[in-house]
């Protein structure tokens, strides 16, 4: 038979005999005949390992790797070689959820390390063991706000949130019955005046804001947490994980919950996934937090060990009364970012952020000098991503001209708006090449 299916003809015959069955079909005598599939699947026949490899090589040939100036929630950072070597260890890769702590200390220990690092990064007290991605983690934070507030049902979300993230939150809100309202944007940042007005209208369970925002801008949230707390609403910040080593943290802003995607911590872009959604909160909210949590304890010999804890919150115990339906975490991706942060340390993350932000400012400055474009919000501080207003060229022209040179030139937000991100993966020479393309485009 097939190399994954070890049964010989003799095995099958003898095992059937042990089961007092005459044929494999006998084991399905309880399945009504009219339901049975009477033909083979209309799928290709078995492929040899070489043929499988050839198929994917053909798929690769239909893709082009570009020098990536695209961001919009996905950032092309460098992935150190060590990480793949370690996460490929099958002891990690092929394990299930660590429900048997006696033979899962490897998994439990890295989740504990992950939680420790994420709380330091966000400046909050506790972290769960991770969630699917940044968008669903944000939606879960919204549900958490509503559950914590009991009777209140309004949640506010900033218009400067990544629209794809906001869309996911909106979907959860629609079906769960949460009144999700958008705080308008003004000059690239969330309108403070409208936020205050919306709070005064009452009934707000939570407020969700981004850092940096979708346009790369680092907004000033001075006083936001206090206003939220005055109205007994939770303050939720969605932050790009890597940037948290440089920008003011949710903890420092007084946020109750921090969520976001940890993809920026060196995770390959992987055409959209798998990534990792993180969620941290204050001690006061730990029993409301969805997802798994690992805690330290002692075993019978007094050894320090790790276990899944506070499981009484979760769906397998609470069923429909659980905080969330989540029944997994991004285990292997949590290991990924834990190893990444171990390698980088505080100094490495600082340097990555400087390379990215300094490169972005260099690029924005020189692109502006071409006269073809300028920053849409020149007075707002930004990190490693910026929004360009195009003057003499269109976004499509820029994207076509850069693509012809093997460059993904950014994310088009409108015919005259282009969102550009810079990381350590694009060299100064790459940036200069991009600027040259724009220069040529405008002089043509």
């Amino acid at each position: 038979m097939h190399r994954y299916l070890p049964h010989t003809e003799q095995d099958i015959a003898q095992m059937l005999e042990a089961c007092q069955a005459k044929s494999l079909d006998d084991l399905y005598s309880d399945v009504p005949e009219q339901l049975k599939l009477k033909r083979p699947y209309q799928l290709p026949a078995e492929m040899s390992e070489k043929e499988v490899r050839d198929f994917f090589a053909a798929m690769r040939a239909k893709c082009t790797q570009l020098v990536c100036f695209g961001g919009a929630g996905y950032y092309d950072h460098y992935a150190p070689a060590v990480i793949n070597a370690l996460i490929s260890r099958s002891e990690f890769l092929t394990a299930y959820t660590p429900y048997q702590p006696e033979i899962s200390q490897g998994t439990l220990q890295y989740i504990f390390e992950y939680q420790s690092m994420m709380t330091s990064l966000t400046g909050l007290d506790v972290s769960n063991a991770s969630m699917y991605d940044g968008a669903t983690a944000t939606a879960e934070a919204m549900l958490m706000c509503v559950a914590a507030a009991r009777k209140k049902n309004r949640v506010l979300i900033s218009a400067t949130m990544n629209p794809a993230v906001a869309d996911v939150v909106r979907t959860y809100a629609r079906y769960h019955g949460v009144a999700l309202e958008v705080i308008p944007e003004k000059n690239g940042v969330t309108s403070r005046a409208e936020f205050e007005e919306m709070m005064q209208a009452g009934d707000v369970a939570g407020v969700i804001v981004p850092a940096p925002n979708f346009f790369g801008i680092v907004e000033d949230y001075t006083g936001w947490a206090d206003l939220c707390h005055k109205y007994k609403a939770l303050f939720v910040m969605n932050c790009q994980a890597s940037a948290l080593a440089a920008i003011k943290t949710p903890g420092e802003w007084g946020a109750d919950i921090a969520v976001g995607d940890a993809q920026s911590l060196g995770m390959p872009l992987n055409y959209g996934g798998p990534y990792l959604g993180y969620m941290c909160c204050t001690n006061a909210l730990i029993r409301k937090m969805p997802g798994r949590i690992v805690g330290a304890t002692k075993d019978k010999d007094g050894k320090r060990v790790f276990v899944l804890t506070l499981q009484a919150r979760e769906q397998h115990i609470r069923r429909e009364k659980a905080t969330s339906n989540i029944c997994s975490n991004q285990g292997l991706m949590a290991l990924y970012v834990t190893i990444y942060m171990s390698l980088m340390g505080p100094e490495g993350l600082k340097q990555v952020n400087e390379l990215s932000a300094d490169g972005a400012h260099y690029m924005a400055h020189h692109l502006t000098e071409t006269g073809a474009m300028h920053l849409l919000h020149p007075h707002e501080p930004y990190h490693n991503e910026f929004l360009m207003k195009l003057e003499k060229v269109t976004a499509d022209q820029v994207l076509a001209a850069t693509l012809a040179e093997g460059i993904f030139g950014g994310v088009k937000l409108a015919d005259d708006l282009l969102l550009i991100a810079v990381t350590e993966m694009q060299s100064k020479a790459d940036i200069d090449r991009y600027i040259d393309i724009i220069r040529k485009l405008t002089t043509e």
Partner: protein, 484 residues
């Protein structure tokens, strides 16, 4: 697996001034954010060199048990072999670096992979169309229920506020329905573990949006009244949802679409061999029957008339449940698995999984209590040891198994029995492995009679034993800082 606990944390290897990173020199002028927007707290990350990081995680991995380590008969989890070629294909140097928003002209191969898997799953599920966007089984359930919600909404059928769930269902079923805004109506199981059809029918009405079922159910029995159930559910205007957690034994035998289900999810990390990764990433594609495609979540991958692929968003969709196209690297693995097996071998998967389960069940039923008669499917449940006089519980048996180099079965689920011990061997285990497992299970039953303390105090040969769960929950210590 190393039976000595490694135990140290990466933070405990930290030494100020060491570094494990390598970055390009910064050629730019430095720009600072205004001080009020800057991080001022120190960042408490370890400072370690590269060899130390490698040794730390290598040693730590040696305290872990995976499918590659040994037999993992974990019921409802389908811990089959995870083929290595799949991982290599998923780590493709070009595809793994594609940005989701780069022009589709440069991602045609990735979109073709997505589309090909979507089509293959439609054929296997007997459905009209699939989306691969949901990230996990529970996320698939939620997305499936949203699809059903969007369908009823499109008909202005607002009265359907409840979802029926059997009492034997996975906990995620009622939890997903609740997140989707539905109230739960529980339906009873009969003594044979199948759904009480009369009880179910009595609960159907204009307020029911959907019935969630898994078939075979969580005790491994086929719900043979499924055509009758589907007919009654459809007659009342509700839809049938298939929880794909137990799809494996149906491969090559029977398709959820043919059973009368309208919406289903598949766990790629169960039936389609993608690794569980210690808890994720998984993938939970959902399929729908004809007439429901327009409600599937955005974005969608479509094949155009000229044979190229595009990514589109539709107004009729239920909304977005993911930013992009799901856990793409997991999807690559599943397609690699389907292609490696091919139609003829996929047709055998279910039957061999079922054979393995029945073989174990028959070999142990004289010593372990089998509460439900009849051929099981991919898994079955014992209600603990037959001899209850020893005081040895299912938990004790599970922990004693660890001493013999086996992972424990799923325990205390389903909730239908007090001492549930749920065994799912999968099709990728040899007869010799099953025989060894059977021999150990028989030995443990013998020990329970002759030396119950030996079993009750197990495990004895694992890196740790009897962690204090109560203390962990009472005084949570969830970070390194909390230990200092």
């Amino acid at each position: 697996m190393n039976r000595e606990l490694y135990g140290s944390l990466i933070f405990e290897h930290s030494c100020k001034g060491r570094r494990g990173f390598s970055l390009p020199r910064n050629p730019y002028k430095h720009v600072e954010l205004p001080e009020k927007l800057r991080r001022s707290q120190p960042l408490d990350l370890p400072e370690v060199d590269e060899p130390t990081v490698v040794r730390h995680y290598t040693n730590s991995s040696n305290n872990n048990f995976g499918v590659d380590t040994g037999f993992y008969p974990l019921g409802s989890c389908t811990m089959k072999y995870n083929p290595k070629i799949n991982d290599e294909m998923a780590a493709d140097p070009v595809i793994s670096r594609l940005h989701p928003l780069q022009p589709v002209s440069t991602t045609q191969g990735a979109l073709e992979i997505y589309y090909t898997l979507q089509q293959a799953l439609s054929e296997i599920g007997g459905m009209a169309e699939f989306t691969l966007n949901p990230f996990a089984g529970a996320h698939g359930e939620l997305t499936g229920l949203m699809t059903i919600h969007a369908y009823h909404d499109s008909r202005s059928d607002w009265a359907r506020t409840k979802v029926i769930v059997p009492d034997s269902a996975h906990g995620t079923n009622p939890a997903s329905a609740a997140v989707c805004g539905y109230k739960i109506v529980e339906v009873k199981s009969l003594p044979d573990g199948t759904v009480d059809v009369d009880d179910l029918k009595s609960k159907l009405g204009p307020d029911i949006a959907a019935v969630m079922m898994t078939n075979p159910n969580t005790v491994g029995m086929f719900e043979k009244h499924i055509p009758e159930i589907a007919e009654a559910v459809h007659a009342c205007g509700a839809l049938m949802y298939y929880d794909g957690a137990n799809l494996n034994p149906m491969l090559g035998v029977c398709r959820p679409g043919d059973m009368g289900f309208d919406v289903m999810h598949i766990n790629l990390h169960k039936t389609f061999s993608t690794p569980h990764g210690g808890g994720g990433p998984g993938s939970g594609p959902i399929g729908v029957r004809k007439g429901l495609e327009q409600f599937l979540p955005n974005p969608r991958v479509v094949k155009l008339a000229d044979g190229t692929f595009d990514v589109v968003c539709e107004d009729s969709a239920l909304g977005r449940v993911s930013q992009w196209l799901g856990n793409f690297a997991v999807e690559i693995r599943a397609l690699s698995y389907i292609m490696s097996l091919g139609s003829e071998n996929l047709m055998m998967v279910g039957k061999l999984a079922t054979l393995n389960a029945n073989y174990i069940m028959q070999a142990l039923r004289d010593l372990y209590l089998l509460p439900i008669e009849g051929p099981c499917k991919h898994e079955f449940v014992f209600d603990g040891l037959k001899d209850k006089s020893t005081g040895v519980t299912t938990l004790n048996v599970a922990k004693r198994l660890l001493d013999f180099g086996f992972h424990a079965p799923t325990i205390y689920f389903p909730l239908l029995f007090h001492e549930s011990l749920m065994i799912e061997p999968t099709e990728t285990e040899t007869r010799e492995t099953l025989d060894r497992f059977i021999a150990v299970m028989r030995q443990i039953a013998g020990e329970a009679a002759s030396d119950p303390e030996l079993v009750k105090s197990a495990p004895h040969l694992t890196p740790i034993s009897h962690p204090d769960d109560t203390e962990a929950a009472l005084h949570p210590l969830p970070t390194y800082r909390s230990l200092l």
